[in-house]
């Protein structure tokens, strides 16, 4: 491999096929960024910049849409309302019900649009990097949901009741009860936050790798007879970009849906 592991963009090299240059395959190094600047040991890199820009974009959009709302909505307000309504009715009310769910609507709406916009950076020209493919971002969000889940469980059922709720404790299970308790404890308490974060992270990570592979491929093949293959690779890039757009929305939806399910589990009566 002649690829420079620290390269950020595929097009930084002048590497083409038939020019004695190996394919600069994307890999883990594609997710390592040189700090843009450092403040007292705090390295500020591209994903952080994108995260902050995304935050500004979300707040700006909803500010423009909702800050001075009208009874008869304008275009922007209508779009905002559609998005808001999608999460509120489509996810929160569906899982938690209108009465129980209303309290969690702001959190779930924030989660959905935050994750979606962070995912969306993947296909925004020049940025072209999904912030959520850095595990720290999904992990932080999953941690918020996890803490909320634990808090609600023990607040609602007390300490022993909460433990029973988490471990699926049920006397009627008889001899298999200890097994169930152990399995449920592992799956709920230890593995759940991990899978919650990794599901989003891995999807965005893999999606970014796919896009990189075909993007770099298009560039790399652009020499001699390879041009034909470069065209095929470029078409793939376009198709995968469309596919990624879909996946980004789906993953945001899944993350929020799971969060609602966890909250619902915490509020439900234990069996």
């Amino acid at each position: 491999m002649s690829a420079d592991p620290t390269q950020v963009l595929a097009f930084e090299s002048d590497c083409h096929i038939f020019s004695g240059c190996g394919f600069p395959a994307p890999g883990l190094h594609s997710f390592v960024f040189k700090p843009l600047f450092t403040v007292g040991g705090f390295e500020f890199n591209k994903p952080m910049l994108l995260a902050l820009l995304g935050t500004v974009a979300i707040v700006a959009f909803f500010w423009a849409a909702f800050a001075r709302p009208k009874l008869v909505p304008g275009k922007l307000q209508m779009i905002g309302e559609a998005g808001y309504d999608f999460v509120r009715r489509g996810i929160v009310y569906e899982t938690l019900g209108k009465r129980e769910g209303e309290k969690y609507v702001p959190l779930m709406v924030s989660l959905f649009f935050f994750i979606w916009i962070m995912n969306l950076w993947s296909v925004i020209p020049l940025a072209q990097f999904p912030v959520t493919s850095m595990i720290a971002f999904p992990a932080g969000l999953a941690a918020i949901v996890y803490i909320l889940w634990m808090f609600l469980t023990f607040k609602k059922h007390g300490f022993t009741g909460g433990l029973k709720n988490i471990t699926g404790y049920d006397k009627s299970l008889g001899a298999v009860l200890p097994v169930i308790v152990i399995i449920d404890f592992f799956s709920n308490v230890l593995i759940r936050p991990f899978t919650h974060a990794v599901r989003l992270f891995a999807n965005m990570f893999a999606g970014h790798l796919l896009l990189l592979t075909f993007t770099i491929g298009s560039w790399y093949l652009l020499n001699g007879i390879g041009i034909i293959y470069a065209g095929a690779s470029f078409v793939m890039t376009i198709l995968l970009t469309a596919f990624e757009l879909f996946i980004q929305a789906v993953q945001a939806y899944v993350f929020v849906l799971l969060a609602c399910n966890y909250v619902q589990g915490a509020l439900a009566e234990h069996h």
Partner: protein, 181 residues
């Protein structure tokens, strides 16, 4: 540069270990979004959505009320119209009946008057006939007496006898008249 490469290489080992600075930035970014939405923007839009819902429901209620009122007014009008028709029919019927009765009454009255007049006529005629018959009898008797007196040359002074003769004569005349009829 070399140090950076080795640093990157060691960091590459596990992409599942979160970097603390990224975690911090991520949480701060999310907190900003959450605070703006939860504290300011979503309550604002919720209020408007609620107002809109009320406006729409109020509009529907108003429309329903108007429709109900229109319906009741329509029914009222229909009832009134039916009543008026009924009344008109009743009046017509009554007028017909009254007319018929009036005609019958007038007919009866006419009949009665006619009969009265006819009866009065009859009586008058009878009376006249009787008077005429009486007068005629006297005249004829007198004339006959005079004639007989002249013829006989003697005065038939005896009244009673005279009367008897005349009566007999007249009766004979009547009998003759009866026989020829």
């Amino acid at each position: 540069m070399n140090a950076l490469v080795t640093l990157a290489a060691t960091e590459e080992q596990n992409p599942l270990i979160p970097e603390i600075p990224e975690l911090v930035i991520g949480l701060i970014a999310f907190a900003i979004v959450f605070i703006f939405l939860a504290k300011k923007l979503l309550p604002t839009i919720n209020k408007v959505l609620e107002e809109r819902r009320e406006a729409i429901e109020g509009g529907i209620e108003k429309a329903e009320a108007a429709q109900t009122e229109a319906q009741s007014v329509l029914e009222q009008y229909k009832a009134q119209l039916a009543e008026a028709r009924h009344e008109a029919a009743r009046l017509r019927q009554e007028a017909q009946e009254q007319g018929a009765a009036l005609i019958a009454e007038m007919r009866a009255e006419g009949q009665r008057q006619r009969e009265e007049i006819v009866a009065a006529g009859h009586t008058q005629i009878e009376a006249d006939r009787k008077a005429a018959a009486g007068a005629l009898r006297q005249d004829v008797g007198k004339l006959a007496t005079e004639l007989a007196g002249k013829l006989v040359g003697e005065s038939l002074e005896d009244h009673a006898r005279q009367s008897r003769v005349i009566d007999r004569f007249l009766d004979e005349l009547e009998e003759k008249a009866e026989a020829t009829r």
